[in-house]
Amino acid sequence: MSLELLSDEGYRMDGRKANELRRVRCNLGVFQQADGSAYIEQGNTKILAAVYGPHEPSQNFRSQVPHDNCLINCEYSQAAFSGVERKNRPRGDRKGQEMAAHIKQTFEASIQTTLYPRSQIDICLQVLQSDGSDYAVSVNAATLALIDAGITMKDYIIACSASLAKGVSLVDINHVEESVGCAELSAAVLPKLGRIVYTELNGKLHEDEMGQILEAVEAGCQDVFHVLEQHVREHVKDTAANFAVS
């Protein structure tokens, strides 16, 4: 039985339409200890983000901190129980470091680093359950945590992934759709400013298909943005309710 990404009626394996996102749920301020924290679930992909800073650079990074900018340090870790099979991943493993480097690069496009000279901002991501689009959900979690920490950013950074099946773009792909082997495009955008800050393509894609899949990703990002923005506004409203009283 061959794996069908898209049925003839236009439904995917989990019953979604091609341009439908998975259910998004998020919480801000889940830890008291960190300066900012957030938890996000997109379908079954569950990621926790904690932000520390800006703070005095730690010993290991003291030499790397520029005098007019802040240093963004990202740590990405996948729990042993997050995948289909239990796999113990040590802290400094190749895939984790690569993901961390990409996320660091992504956030340098939005965080106003010139406002925090000689400081260090740590973004720590922990994947609790991995069901596809790990990069995208990590970026969304980190955005929420940074907003919770009060770190100045030009705009939200929202990321989404997409794939192509039978000439139709599938948005927000899950683990099964990922492992089939089709091309997967992940992109991070600044939704209000309408700019793309990061793209990553896994697999092969024809030049003509690039435009279509990129449009689908951008639309997906805008959809995720609407959901997350609602949550953040509600969170701000609840928290600021007592600010003005006294």
Binding site: G150, T152, P191, A244
Partner: protein, 278 residues
Amino acid sequence: MLVTPGDVITEDTIYMKGHGTYGTNIEGDKRVIASVAGVVEPINKLICVKPLKTRYNGEVGDVIVGRIKDVQQKRWKVETNSRLDSVLHLSSVNLRGGELRRRSAADEFAMREYLKEGDLISAEIQQVHADGSLSLHTRSLRYGKLGQGCCVVVSPSLIKRRKNHMHNLSCGVSIILGNNGYVWISPLVKTATDSEAGDGGFDFDKEPVTADDRETICRVRNAILCLAKHSVMLYDTSVQYAYDKSLDYEAKHLLSDDVASEIVDRTLMEIDLLKGNA
């Protein structure tokens, strides 16, 4: 008005951009855009956005409570919940005996006897440097090493800026509401008399604290944590009211969510009444 990053606050050209806002430097684009999630505070023509949570941004003259992190040559590094560690120079502290003299090499070697790593101090901000780091001083008998008591950490945005940050509450404790979010609660401080003028602020009362005082301190601490959980601004009146309202419960029960909400509601009602009468 509540905003999130990327929101356009205004397009009017008369407004200037303050903290928490930015403008795209494109020719002809006059929008003022928010860069944090928080409350918009317009001060005349200046628009600032105050974030809900932030690291402490020091102003000259603020009273802070900090922890000594490192002892270096002629200065101490103090951790104050800000972007960069603060500095307390040897020349900014009172020497023992109240002498006014040039600091010698002997003073440098004796630094650790005054303040060492882990000590809590209260100090005032003397200077804010270009990169945002702070220089502190303890050149007053009110400041110095903190002795027996309890330190509570809350977000700096919750500390209301007042003329006075050191209070003796009527419930029998004295508190220091550091602008950086560190609140120090201790048994009543006897005011400095002339005979103690030569102290220099480095010795503290080592008398054992009574059980009643300890309970009061514990209750005040939990009351402050209740208020902080619900983002209520902290100042002497709000802390005093929260303490009064909490007397119906045992100190340890204040840590539970429902008790905390109830106390906060009653405190806010009391504050409203006070404002209504004023």
